[in-house]
């Protein structure tokens, strides 16, 4: 048992060390001038592959043990963070592979130098490292510091081209997010101070109030008003970083100006990491005080995010900005799922975390192909993709229609479940409004797909794809979207169910786990959720 535990600890240390070391090596390559191109590409691929494999091993450890600690109580992974680690590991690996193809074009065409390429990889891995800190830390203050550090690391990536617009985007990103996350710090301080007072009054060590797991065990005696104020601060603070209305203004700028693989990471992983922090506080506050306010806030701001973003999605002609508003809308949808609540709503929110990440990773990468090929992101100019780059066109169409919620793709499942949760909780008016918004969003995507992939190819655009490394990773994402839409693999379903249970009642164990990796037919899955509830289904089937 001790040996197994030390294996888990070792894996967690390796998990954190890998991107950090890869980052340092990438920065070191910048001293090598033009000759560093080969080595830095190798370091990037090697680092990503290692990280991916270690992350899978760590998830397996969590899957087996229920929860894993390391460095005393400082590092902690449970079923909830395992879901977010899965998202990070998968998307970091795939967007990292795509980076190779994307950046090859940028260096070949003189858009960036080899030194900048080294900085790009260095900051990318540093960015991944900071997101890993957010996911794996048990320390409330470090959770905040990790989110803050994600901004500092990724701001350089947003502004890497050094153009007026990218610098402007980087500034808006850093100022809005830093200020937003300062709200998160305040909320963190309020929760910590409240918890330490309560723990001191109970004769416990108040210093332990810094750990989320300890706070979860001693939630009695918290001040009601202070905890509600704390949640408002936390929601504003980390909601800013999650792209939730009204502090989402940084998101379209940063996502559109960053290199496409970075945009994919920002949208698919970073927003979710910040949302994980909100979830951690949501769980604590729900357990410590009786109030509907956190859930109502999720619902209200989730709906507003969906609504506001939908209008921009329809009217926006910049492909990447359109996708960025989709991120706002989908983060809103996750919040709506949480706001509807109950096993179905929370399950819908959790599975949408993964589903949206797959779709958005694919689409941002393909938008990179479009940008490199056509030299513009304007959907009124990009025409005839089917004739110019047929594989990219198919991937764009598949990804966009999947993101819009068409079956058999994955997003349909999560959107369907959110709607179902709305009906189950008697939120009929909101559910109808949500359906109208989703239809509007789908309309916007169908129009975008129709106008870009059909029509005549402009004469100056040659008929040629950009390279296998810009297609294979994105193709893999489309296949995963299909698999998640048709038949969710059982280990993935298990992770999502466990995350749901943790959000619902703080129970972190994977109940009755069997080493069964057969896929669950999706109809059975949805039926089980509808008729039995996610919690019941988890304990009965696994």
């Amino acid at each position: 048992m001790n040996e197994l535990l030390s294996n888990a600890q070792m894996l967690l240390y390796l998990l954190l060390a890998t991107p950090f070391i890869t980052s340092l090596l990438s920065f070191a390559c910048s001293f090598g001038g033009k000759s560093a191109r080969g080595p830095v590409n190798f370091i990037n691929i090697a680092g990503l592959t290692t990280l991916f494999l270690i992350a899978l091993a760590v998830i397996r450890e969590v899957y087996t043990k229920g929860e894993v600690f390391a460095a005393g109580k400082w590092i902690y992974l449970d079923g909830l963070s395992a879901l977010f680690l899965l998202v990070l590991a998968l998307l970091a690996f795939i967007t990292g592979l795509y980076s190779y193809g994307y950046m090859k074009h940028e260096v070949d065409h003189g858009e960036i130098t080899v030194t900048t390429l080294c900085y790009y990889y260095g900051f990318s891995h540093l960015f991944i490292f900071t997101m890993l800190i957010v996911i794996t830390t048990n320390n409330l203050i470090l959770m905040w510091a990790g989110v803050e550090a994600t901004t500092l690391a990724s701001a350089f990536l947003v502004g890497i081209y050094g153009q007026n617009s990218s610098l402007e985007a980087a500034w808006k990103y850093i100022i809005i997010c830093t200020v937003g996350v300062a709200f998160g710090l305040y909320g963190t301080v309020l929760v910590y101070s409240n918890a330490s007072s309560a723990m001191a009054a109970a004769g416990l060590d108040p210093a332990d109030a810094i750990f989320w797991t300890e706070v979860m065990q001693h939630t009695s005696g918290f001040d009601h008003t202070l905890m509600l104020i704390a949640f408002v601060f936390v929601f504003i603070g980390f909601g800013t970083k999650s792209g939730i209305f009204p502090l989402h203004a940084w998101l379209p700028d940063a996502h559109s100006e960053a290199p496409s693989p970075t945009s994919a990471l920002l949208s698919a992983v970073l927003l979710k990491c910040a949302f994980l922090v909100i979830l951690r506080y949501y769980i604590v506050i729900n357990r410590s005080i009786e109030s509907d306010m956190p859930q109502m806030m999720m619902l209200a701001f989730g709906c507003l995010s969906c609504l506001v973003a939908a209008f921009f999605i329809v009217t926006q002609h910049d492909l990447k900005r359109k996708l960025a508003y989709h991120s706002v809308q989908n983060m809103g949808l996750i919040a709506v799922g949480m706001g509807f609540g109950g096993p179905i709503g929370v399950f819908a929110a959790m599975i949408h975390v993964l589903n949206h990440s797959l779709a958005k990773g694919l689409l941002f990468c393909i938008s990179g192909n479009v940008l490199l090929k056509y030299g513009t992101r304007d959907t009124r100019v990009v025409k005839g993709m089917l004739k110019a780059m047929p594989f990219s066109a198919i991937l764009l169409a598949g990804g966009a229609l999947g993101l819009g919620g068409l079956p058999p793709f994955n997003v349909f499942i999560s959107e369907f479940l959110v709607v179902l949760a709305g009906i189950e909780t008697n939120n009929f008016v909101l559910t109808v409004v949500l359906l109208l918004i989703l239809m509007m969003v789908l309309g916007g995507l169908v129009h975008m797909v129709g106008s870009t992939i059909f029509g005549e190819r402009p004469e100056q655009i040659a008929k040629k794809e950009l390279g296998i490394m810009t297609l294979l990773p994105t193709g893999a994402l489309l296949i995963m979207m299909l698999i998640m839409g048709v038949s969710i693999p059982k280990p993935v379903a298990n992770i999502v169910h466990t995350a749901t249970n943790i959000v619902l009642d703080g129970n972190s164990s994977f109940a009755q786990i069997k080493p069964d990796t057969r896929p669950i037919p999706i109809q059975g899955e949805v039926k089980a959720i509808i008729f039995e509830g996610a919690s019941t289904q988890t304990s009965q089937e696994f």
């Binding site: 203050i141 510091a145 610098l167 305040y186 330490s196 007072s197 108040p206 700028d253």
Partner: protein
């Protein structure tokens, strides 16, 4: 004997005054100096709370704050502001009178909030005004960011917010491990350094410090 609670609450009033001065002051370099003074007041508050509650950690926090908040951050800001000149970016978007009025409203609001909170250390020592100031201080920082034309002065807004959060931590959780306090401070300093670096790049490329000139990205 001195009434330590009264001293602390008076220092809290001074914190509000100095933070308002940072916001409405016309010259950005002067704001850097006033920020240093306001941080010195914060250090005195740390020492006073430490003396009153017997929390020895606060003396260490005070020492760290002298180095980081009284010296380092103002120095970084002052030296950068001395090199970057943009007369177009001077002044505030909202008039000083409105800013003073807003500050008053913020403080009244948080005074009521602080009085409804049941935290033993605050009730025992009558430190409700300090809690109100720590919350209000944070919001004055937000006000600073939205009211400034100069992007460098917006950074002071973040610093004021961070000071507000730090004050709350010192007031309500002064038993926290020193590592926590160091973590917050270090992160905040890195944030200031990265923001200053970005502002310098913007000045070098776009030749402006005026937030209203950064309008290329819309929609």
């Amino acid at each position: 004997m001195f009434d330590t609670s009264a001293i602390i609450n008076n220092l809290a009033g001074l914190l509000v005054f100095t933070s308002l001065m940072v916001v409405i002051c016309k010259k950005a370099t002067t704001s850097a100096l006033i920020y240093s003074v306001q941080s010195a007041v914060l250090v005195l508050v740390f020492i006073s709370i430490g003396h009153m509650t017997g929390a020895g950690e606060l003396y260490t926090w005070a020492a760290t704050a002298v180095f980081t908040k009284v010296v380092l951050v103002p120095l970084i800001m002052y030296s950068t502001l001395s090199k970057l000149h943009d007369p177009e970016a001077g002044g505030t978007i909202i008039s000083s009178a409105v800013l003073i009025l807003l500050t008053t409203l913020i403080m009244i609001l948080f005074f009521f909030v602080a009085n409804s909170v049941e935290i033993p250390i605050i009730r025992r020592h009558g430190l409700e005004p300090l809690l109100a100031v720590s919350l209000g201080h944070f919001m004055i920082g937000v006000m600073c960011i939205v009211s400034q034309r100069n992007i460098m002065k917006q950074i002071f807004g973040y610093c004021l917010m961070e000071n507000g959060a730090h004050l709350t931590l010192a007031l309500m959780a002064n038993q926290a491990p020193h590592l926590v306090e160091i973590g917050i401070t270090t992160d905040a300093i890195f944030a200031v350094i990265v923001m200053v670096y970005m502002a310098r790049r913007i000045y070098a490329t776009i030749h402006t410090l005026n937030a209203q000139d950064l309008t290329a990205l819309k929609g």
